[in-house]
Each structure stands twice: as C-alpha cells, then as structure tokens.
C-alpha cells in the first residue's frame, strides 16, 4: 500500500548524522549566565584571532603579550589607554541610551565632531576672551559641547518623531555634514597660516592633565590622562541613574521593548524619541568636547579615528549597561593603542571585529537552548 511509502514529492537527501537542535528557552537563565557567555565569547574570539595570526606566520602568544604590554604594561601606557578610552566611554553611553529605546543612532561620530566644534567656537569665535579663568572657560565649553551635540541629535529625532524619517539613514548622513562643517571652519575661517587647523587653544582652555600636576606630584610626570575621564565617569553614573533608577529610564525601556505598550501606558512616544536623541547627541558631543580640550587642543580634521562608530560596538558589547561600557571602552582603548605598536596595525582591528562577531553571535545562547543530538532518520525502514 502506498501509504507506508514516503510521499514521492520528497526525495531523500544525505543528512549529517548529528543535528544541532535549538529550542527556545522557557525560563530565564540565571543572572550570572549572560556575563559568563560574554566572557566565553571574548575568549573564543581571542582563540580565533590567535589562529589567524598563526596562519599568517605570527606567534599568537607573543602578539597577545605584546598587545597587553603596549597598553597595560606600564603606568605610562595605561594612562594612554585611558586617554583613548575616555571618548569611547561617552560615545558608548550615547549609543547605549539611544539603543535602549531602539533608536539606532549611528550618528555619534557627527555629534562628536560638532561637540568638538561647539567647544572650539567658545575659544575661536571667540565667545570668551583668551584670558578667561579655566573655572569659567571649561564649564562654558562643556555646555557648548553638550548643546551642539544635543542639537545635532535633535534634528534626526524630530524628523523621526514628526515625519517617521528612518534615523539610521538620517544620522548616518548627518555624520558627513558634520565633518564637512568642521572642515569649512578649519580651511576657511579658523585656519592658522593656511594650515588645515586652528591655532592652539590657550592653556586655560585645556582640560587639566595629570602631568600638569607633576610639580606637586612627580609621579604624574608625562601622564596624559585628562579630566575628560572624570566627565566620562560622571556621565556613567548619571546615565546609569537615568536608565535604571528614574521614571524616564523606565519609559525608555518600555518604549524600546514595545512602543504600542508604551502608547497604551500613556507615553508620548514622539517627545521621548526627541529627548532620547538629544541626550544621546549631548553625550557624543561631550566626548568631542573632551577630546578637543583634553588631547588635541586645537580644531583640526583628524580628531577621531572613528570613535563614533567604535562607540556603537562598545555599546553592544556592554549590553547597553553603563558600567560595562567603562570596561569595554578600556579594552578597546587598549586595542586602539596597540594598533600603533603592532605591525601590521590591522591586527588589533581584526581582533575588535572578531570579538564583536562572537559577542553578537553568543546572544543566541541567551534566548535559546542548544542541544546536540544524534539524527535518527526514521526513513531507513522505508
């Protein structure tokens, strides 16, 4: 009887004898589990990176040791690592805030540039005379960085809220506008003797560095870590408080998870969209301000090796948790720094990429249980 035969429209293909079964999790995994998975993903990423280094003829252990020495090996290089981590922390926070509400702000780079522009304008426009006391100069520059960054975040936020313009596209495009905006001022208005950079800021408009206190504490000599790190850490605490302990943070999480439920709970989604984009822009702008007044000390073209984009990765790796952003930023600061030491300098970038891929891929383990099972074809008899 044809009944016991497989239906003719199916042909038997050869199948691998073992299957990987993925089943949705029905109960929440314990609290420590996500962190275990993240650490595991980083270890796997380092192993994969090591294999690749070995394939191209390098010694993975020596490479990793060198990277570690180059970024954590002494107080001096660790200080440099922190300098690189400082803008990443703020940009990472900027992305975390927006991503919490599923607003894909990938315009942190542009907001960073305009934050830098805002801070520079205080010196170069000039809004304040050169001999202003740092106690006034720096707060005004901070405010300028925050405001211009927030404004640059407001535009895509408003477009999204009012006309439902996709924020991914608008924020991405506005990055280019921001860079060119800065270029116009560097080339045309604030140029110093035809060079594509402004004049150096006066010393009282610099964020204080550790080395500035070397007279009192000789240990700090040569350390470039600047007060921007303090701004970053204050931002971490404020953002943590907003996200986890405030009504607004609850609203951000609610809308992020289910906008319809947010509307049902009586929230104004448009207003929240604009406000979150402004907060995100302000944080990225603050990062630009901190970099320009703490490290570069003048407005010029190359002020960011893509901090705004690295911030996206930082936010994801930190699972949008502000304190984790600090840890991840230091790690990435170290990799950026190592890029100067390691040849080819692409190696640390490659490691960054592998870490990102592994961490994002590991997310599936939070949602699903994966089991390996022997495949019984059940067709053998037929």
């Amino acid at each position: 009887m044809a009944d016991s035969q497989p239906h003719p429209i199916f042909k038997r293909r050869w199948t691998f004898p073992i299957t990987i079964q993925v089943e949705p999790r029905l109960v929440a995994p314990p609290r420590w589990y996500p962190w275990l998975i993240s650490v595991g993903a980083i270890i796997i990423a380092l192993i994969i990176g090591g294999i690749l280094i070995a394939i191209v003829g390098g010694d993975p252990f020596a490479s990793y040791a060198h990277i570690a020495r180059a970024s954590f090996g002494s107080v001096g290089v660790f200080s440099d690592t922190l300098v690189k981590a400082t803008p990443l922390i703020m940009v990472g926070l900027a992305c975390s805030v927006a991503f919490r509400m599923r607003l894909w702000n990938i315009g942190a780079e542009g907001q960073f540039f305009l934050g830098a522009f805002g801070a520079s304008a205080v010196v170069l426009a000039p809004l304040l005379p050169e001999n202003t006391t740092p106690w006034l100069f720096i707060p005004v520059m901070i405010l300028a960085g925050l405001l211009i960054g927030a404004l640059w975040g407001f535009i895509p936020g408003f477009l999204k809220a009012r006309f439902n313009v996709n924020e991914i596209i608008s924020t991405l495009m506005m990055n280019y506008i921001a860079v060119q905006w800065n270029n116009y001022f560097i080339f045309a208005i604030w140029t110093e003797g035809g060079f594509q950079m402004s004049k150096m800021f006066p010393h009282n408009a610099w964020l204080p560095r550790l080395t500035d206190f070397a007279d009192q504490i000789p240990f700090f000599r040569g350390l470039t870590t600047h007060a921007g790190l303090i701004l970053a850490l204050i931002s971490v605490v404020i953002v943590w408080f907003i996200l986890y302990r405030s009504k607004w943070g609850y609203e951000i999480r609610l809308i992020g998870d289910n906008p319809q439920a947010g509307r049902y709970a009586g929230l104004n989604i448009s207003r929240n969209t604009i406000m979150v984009m402004m907060l995100s822009g302000a944080l990225a702008g603050l990062a630009g301000m901190s970099e320009i007044t703490g490290v570069v000390h003048r407005l010029q073209g190359a002020i960011s090796p893509g901090y705004g984009f690295t911030g996206i990765i930082v936010a994801w790796l930190a699972k949008l948790n502000p304190f984790a952003v600090v840890v991840v930023s230091v790690l990435f600061g170290a990799l950026i720094l190592a890029g100067r030491e390691i040849q080819p300098s692409g190696i640390p970038k490659m490691i960054q990429g592998i870490i990102l891929v592994c961490l994002i891929a590991s997310d599936i383990l939070l949602r699903y249980r994966v089991r390996i099972a022997r495949r019984n074809t059940g067709m053998e008899e037929a």
Partner: protein, 520 residues
C-alpha cells in the same frame, strides 16, 4: 493491510511519551492513539501539554522517552519533514507563511518538485483542484498578506494536504476565527474525514469539542485524564471536570444590585479605522456605576476602535466621551489613565504588555508616575518589587519570581498580570476587550469573578466580547454592534428564551426594531 478492513483501524499510537522543559514536565508518560477516519479532540487547559505532545508527533520536538508508531512501524522524527513524509502534518496556531509570496509559492516552498524553473502556472490548477475537493476555497495567485486569517488557515491546510498528509493536526484552529468561519472550518474537517483523512483537533473549548469530535483525549498537567473517550457518551460537565480537576461553575452567582450614577457617557461617536475607513457610526451609550454593560458583536465590527476612542488611543472624528462629566475624547491617553479609565486590551502580547520586561515592570505601567513608586524623578525599585509581589499573591500569578520576563508566562498568567494592573488601582471605569479569549476554563472563571467583583465595588464596566455565554452570564445590559452601528439593547431577563436568537440576528445586521416589528 489487514487493519484497513476494520472500521477505524489504528493509524498512530504514541506510548509513554515524556517531554521535559526547564522546570516543567510537559508530558508525563502520555499515551495517545488515533484511528483512521476520525476527528480526535485533544482537550486540556493552557499549559496542559497538548501542543507539546503534538509538536513531538509533528517532528518539531523530540520526546525524551516513549515511542511513536505510525502505520504499524516505530518511527522517529527528527524534523517536520520526516513527519510529513510519514503523512503527518500540523497547522500551528501561528501560521508559518511568507506574507509577500503567493498561495502557490507558499505551498511549494521546501518541496523538491519544481526542480529549477518555477513555472507557477502549472501548479495553480492543481492547488485549485485540491481546494475544491476539500472545500478550501482560496485563490492560488493571491499573496498571503491579502488574505484574511481564515483564508490563511486554509492555505496552511492545503500545504499539508498537498504534501500528502493523511493525519492533520490543528492547534487551536478556532482561536483566530470568527464564528461564521468556524462553521466553515468544521465543514472542511468533515469533508476531509470523508476523503479518508484523520484529524487531531487541539482545543480547550468544550462546545467545539462536543460538536466536531468523534473521540476525545483529555490532558491535565501533562497527564492523560481521559484516553480516547467516545464524545457522544460524555458530557460537557464531565469533560470540564477531567480538564480542570474540579467542577466548573458555568453559571456564576451574580448578586442583583441597584445601579448608580452615570460614569461613562458616549455620545454620537464616529471614528476611522487604521485604513482610514469609517469604523464607528454615531455610537452612543452610557455605563453606570455598579453595572456591567456587555457589547456583543462579531470581531472586527468596530469594537476595537470603540475601546481605543474611549481610552484615548484613537482620535474620534465626531462625538464626545465623558467620564464623570469630563471630556476625555481626543485628548492624550494619559488623561484617560489619570482619570481612572482602566483598559484590558484585546491583544495581550502586542499592546497589553512588554514581552521582555519583567512582571514588575509590567504591573507598574500605569502607577509608576505617582508615589510611592515614584519619588520625583526617581523610581523606587524596591517599592515597585514589593507592589509586584503583592499583586502576584493576590491575583495568583504563578511564577518563580517577579523579575521573570512576561514572555515566559502562559496566556492565563499573562492575563492575570494585566488584570492585576488594571484592577488594583480601583478604577471607576473599566473597558475589557475579549478578556477571556484563549484562556482555559479555570482562568476564565477567575476573570469572570474579578469582573463581577468590580461591579460589586461600584465600578462601571464595559465588557466587549464575542462569547455570548460570557456576556449573558455577566452583563446587566447587552448592546449589539454591527459594522460600527449599535443594533439595539437587551436588558432584563437575559437568561430567557429567544434572547440568544435576538442577539444572533442583531449580530448579523438586523436592528432590534426590525426584529420586534417582525414578531408583531
């Protein structure tokens, strides 16, 4: 085969099936058998293990112990492909269709038959013929997104029939259908049986099981409480007892009480639906304190839009909604919330809750703005957790802890979370839309008790439902809506003869005056 000569020979046997999920024993040594040519109902509360058992049979899950025998052979399915090759196909509660593709494309998807070139025109007539044979009319050329839910279900059935399924498993097929579509589905099932197919019908609705099935197997908490009982030899009460393990009160005691003042007054509301078409035409009514006003109607006749206008989630183009004399229509939804309009939405997962947030986060959705949960800008998570713990105990929400994301909850528990949130603030007015849809008997009873408690506490309740029994047993008055218009109001002896008939006529578009004229 010898078996085929006997009436109703055994087609499928499942013996001693065990399946565990973390923390739950979903199937505990379950036996199940299906005979050729029968409609076998699998009855049980939500979470009783019905879907799990059938997912094992359909090759989606693997059992941890036990055997499956199909056509006299021990089978082991590691994928739905294996199961369908053995003639077993399942139509899931959530359809597995590609919305942007046509019916034919969906049916052919995953098959080896069109080898390389996809000449769809050759397949359209085949699918039309198949549809004709089983009373599953659907245009093979239309795209899935253009079809109604009922038509999509037919596509799922066709998909399985095209693959040569001889056993069709339907998981809660009526949950998504309007009453008229349910009748059509039942006819289809009967014609499939006549064509020699066998059907497993998963349901928790007793009247449907009584109507359609030949035999019934009842599961409770992963165990079989009745195996293959002949449906005609049993009763609804008996099945209900087997399902929930205790007698269910089908008629809840409703205290008679005087109604109070007008709480909500709706005047000449007109509103559009999402597509911009007019959904409500001059709807007017009042709800008094201490009364449940039922709104009957087949789904999609403007009930959802009406609830949204009242709760401020939809603009009305004309008319007024007043709560205690204050206008609340066309104002932010927050106004309605703050004035004490509570709302149990029809869509529990998409509207009523945020799936990945915890129970705590979900129950404070409407109270977080005020002390004691809020302190100015800040949110006191300790108070919020205590509040959630309190509601968890009071409303019997069965979870390990209140930090559990609500996506892990069963339908009944999810609805208890929503009701806990909406009722605990002691609102003067409440709209409940389909509050018991998809729930099991025990959970339904719980929801009914909560609604009646609201009435006794002096709240005004607008109950929007498709379940006539529910409306008749709970409501003080019943309005009927059809295509956005109120067809009439019934009050007084709602239990009396002829009421259901009148409701039925009004629900299909005959105004009450016409019915009464006809009677005279």
């Amino acid at each position: 085969m010898d078996d085929s000569a006997m009436p109703f020979p055994l087609l499928i046997e499942m013996r001693g099936i065990v399946k565990r999920f973390p923390g739950v024993l979903a199937n505990d040594c379950v036996d199940f058998e299906l005979r050729h040519g029968e409609i076998h109902a699998l009855l049980g509360e939500n979470g009783a293990g019905k879907s799990t058992l059938m997912n094992i049979l359909a090759g989606l899950y693997r059992q941890e112990a036990g055997t499956i025998i199909a056509n006299g052979e021990v089978k082991s399915f590691s994928s739905p492909r294996d199961a369908i090759a053995a003639g077993i196909g399942m139509v899931h509660q959530h359809f597995m269709l590609v919305p942007s593709q046509t019916v034919t494309e969906n049916i052919l998807l995953g098959l080896d038959d069109p080898k390389f070139l996809l000449r769809l025109n050759e397949y359209h007539p085949k699918i039309e013929d198949l549809g004709e044979r089983f009373g599953l009319k659907v245009d093979p050329r239309s795209k899935i997104w253009q079809l109604s839910v009922g038509e999509q279900q037919r596509v799922e059935l066709l998909k399985m029939l095209y693959r040569g399924a001889r056993v069709l498993i339907l998981d809660e097929p009526t949950a998504v259908l309007a009453p008229t579509e349910i009748e059509g589905l039942f006819q289809t099932l009967r014609s499939m049986v006549e064509e020699g197919k066998s059907v497993i019908f998963i349901s928790h609705k007793l009247h449907e099981v009584m109507e359609i099935s030949d035999r019934v197997t009842v599961l409770r908490r992963g165990k079989v409480t009745a195996a293959g009982v002949d449906t005609h030899t049993t009763t609804r009460q008996e099945l209900a007892r087997l399902m929930v393990g205790r007698e269910v009160l089908f008629h809840i005691e409703k205290k008679s009480q005087e109604v109070g003042k007008v709480i909500l007054s709706v005047e000449n509301i007109q509103a559009d639906n999402d597509k911009g078409l007019q959904a409500l035409y001059d709807v007017s009514f009042q709800v008094h304190s201490g009364e449940i006003l039922g709104l009957a109607g087949i789904a999609g006749n403007g009930q959802g839009e009406l609830a949204q206008v009242i709760t401020g989630l939809r603009k009305c183009t004309h008319g007024h909604v007043q709560l205690d004399g204050e206008e609340i229509a066309n104002r932010p939804a927050l106004i309605a919330i703050e004035r004490g309009v509570s709302y149990v939405p029809e869509d529990r997962t998409q509207v009523g809750t945020a799936a990945n947030l915890s129970i705590t986060d979900n129950v404070i959705m409407k109270t977080y703005r005020k002390p004691p949960i809020a302190h100015g800008w800040a949110l006191d998570s300790k108070v919020a957790t205590q509040y959630a713990e309190k509601l968890k105990d009071e409303y019997d929400i069965v979870v390990p802890n209140v930090e559990t994301p609500v996506r892990m909850l069963s339908g009944g528990n999810l609805q208890r979370v929503i009701l806990a949130r909406e009722i605990s603030s002691q609102p003067p007015f409440m709209v409940a839309v389909q509050p018991t849809r998809g729930l099991d008997v025990g959970a339904i009873e719980g929801v009914h008790r909560l609604l009646l408690a609201q009435r006794e506490a002096g709240a005004a309740v607008l109950l929007i439902s498709e379940e006539l029994e529910e409306l008749l047993s709970l409501s003080d008055r019943i309005l009927v809506i059809y295509e956005g218009r109120i067809m009439g109001e019934l009050k007084g002896a709602l239990g009396s003869q002829g009421v259901i008939e009148k409701l039925g006529q009004m629900m299909t578009g005959t105004p009450l005056e016409k019915i009464l004229e006809g009677a005279v």
